[in-house]
Amino acid sequence: MSEREKESGRAAEDRLGGGSPVSAASGGTAAGLAADSARTGAADTPVKLALSGVHKSFGSKRRPLPVIGGVSLEVREGEFVSLIGPSGSGKSTLFHLIGGLLQPDAGEIALDGRSIAGERGHIAYMPQQPALFPWRTIEDNVALDREVNGTPRRETLEEARRWMARAGLSGFEQAYPHTLSGGMQQRAAFVRALLSPHELMCLDEPFSALDAFTRSEMQAWLLDIWEETRRSVLFVTHHIEEALLLSDTIYVLSGRPSAVLRRIEVPFPRPRREEIAESPEFLALRRELTGLMKEEQRKSRSGTFES
């Protein structure tokens, strides 16, 4: 495992988006290495993002409405972590806290061991709606994150085009977003996040607006790209199968005020194929998670009736 350690250390330095020509090569090696390691515990890889005891309430001082009630979780370097929970469990609020748009009332948010609570500009982000700028061509949209982080558009274009090709967007470099299908727009939004110089990617229910078929296509595509790049990912979804297919670790959130109900390590080896969805192990995990979610949904609904 020592070699794996070194590898992930290096990957953190010249990760994709670092702008160095080595990044593509090291990404390739990482994927090759990952194929033989089953990644069960991964307790030896350093922690990228850590939330401990995060609380957040809205409303007035006298009548606070607690939304996040003590969430603690970890994303290790190169780990794909999913958050699932009933609707209204404050998943978006949690992202706003990590993104620095909101200050936590209590608790700590640390990136690479350093507190980033209330600080912006440390993460790559992909929102639920693609949020591509309609007046920018696709390639200019894809370069936007880098541009905001200080890299001139021109310097990004070559790499942007390479990744756009991987996303099936070749030939659409000069097109405007409104001419693309929903799935293509989401892929462009993903490439935009992928090119960010920030290693940690926060994906906020990125496929929820897509139809079922496009969605499963996008999952397979994302799985493929992610296994190649091995970025640290925090992925919010309410789709259980999606979480099981993609993640190394799943955190199940409770209804409001949300806390972590369960932490599940997904045992399937990488690279994964969609076929694992038919294995008995997968089905058992899915049943367990579905039961947990149903219970939570029911509780939070009766909770709203009481108040």
Partner: protein, 266 residues
């Protein structure tokens, strides 16, 4: 959309009103002849056209003078409106203090200020430019601020999440997002500015289409007044088309203010 298909589409939608205008002119012509209406009350289109051709030189001189005045006033007024909109948007305190006053101030008919401006600034170019500036300022400022306020929430949220600074959000998101709104303001201002120029010339000028109209009014030259009106309409239309053309060049991505959202889905 290519230029060619734009032209074809324009032609298709333009010919019915064009035929309607021709019919109207024919009706006018024959009515004037049939009822033998005197030319100082209602001249026929042919008389107006003939007179316009005869006094082409003097009309051209007056038209150019008005056009110059209009363009200067339009440019200054629009620039000022845009500047104020940006300033009020970027400084919330300023906006909450001044925006209501801005709306209230529009109840003062700008045209009514013209005589006052003449007294203060004389009969030169300056008071006329001030009138046009005042007339253009408001639509540009208000629609641009509207555009800023309507910035897409998801895009704004995205920019914040990736750590964009205030200036970056303004330059890369809010300003380009407000461009179609700015242009609808400019279109209104373009028509207003011609009107402002003509009225300013009525009140006091030595040349210009407005001055020409006043002159012909005292001589009861109805035909020449009609010619002047046609020129004013043409000027308004010209400026309107100019703004539309610039918008076509500047606003990208199929979201022009004319054909609103989703007009060009392919």
């Amino acid at each position: 959309m290519s230029l060619r298909s734009t032209l074809a589409q324009w032609f298709r939608s333009a010919w019915p009103p064009f035929v309607a205008v021709l019919l109207f002119l024919a009706l006018w012509e024959s009515a004037v002849r049939f009822f033998a209406i005197e030319a100082w009350i209602l001249p026929s289109p042919s008389i107006i056209a003939g007179e316009a051709a005869r006094s082409a030189d003097s009309l051209r001189m007056h038209t150019l003078s008005t056009l110059k005045l209009t363009l200067i006033g339009f440019a200054i007024g629009s620039a000022f409106g845009l500047l104020v909109a940006c300033l009020l948007h970027l400084v919330p305190l300023l906006r909450s203090a001044l925006y209501p006053l801005l709306i209230l101030s529009q109840n003062v008919p700008t045209i009514a200020l013209a005589p006052l401006l003449m007294i203060w600034f004389g009969f030169g170019l300056l008071p006329k430019i001030i009138v046009i500036t005042l007339v253009c300022f408001f639509p540009v400022a208000v629609s641009t601020m509207d555009g800023f306020a309507q910035t897409d929430r998801t895009m704004l949220n995205y920019m914040r999440m990736i750590g964009a600074k205030r200036g970056q959000i303004f330059r890369k998101l809010e300003f380009p997002h407000a461009l179609p709104s700015l242009f609808s303001g400019l279109r209104i201002a373009a028509t207003y500015s011609v009107m402002g120029a003509v009225i300013a010339e009525w009140i006091g000028a030595q040349k210009g289409i407005g001055y020409y109209m006043i002159l012909q009014k005292s001589a009861f030259r109805t035909d020449r007044i009609f010619a002047a009106i046609v020129i004013i309409v043409a000027l308004s239309l010209l400026l309107f088309l100019l703004v539309t053309l610039i918008e076509r060049l500047v606003v990208r991505g199929g979201r022009r203010s004319g054909n609103a959202e989703g007009g060009e889905t392919k």
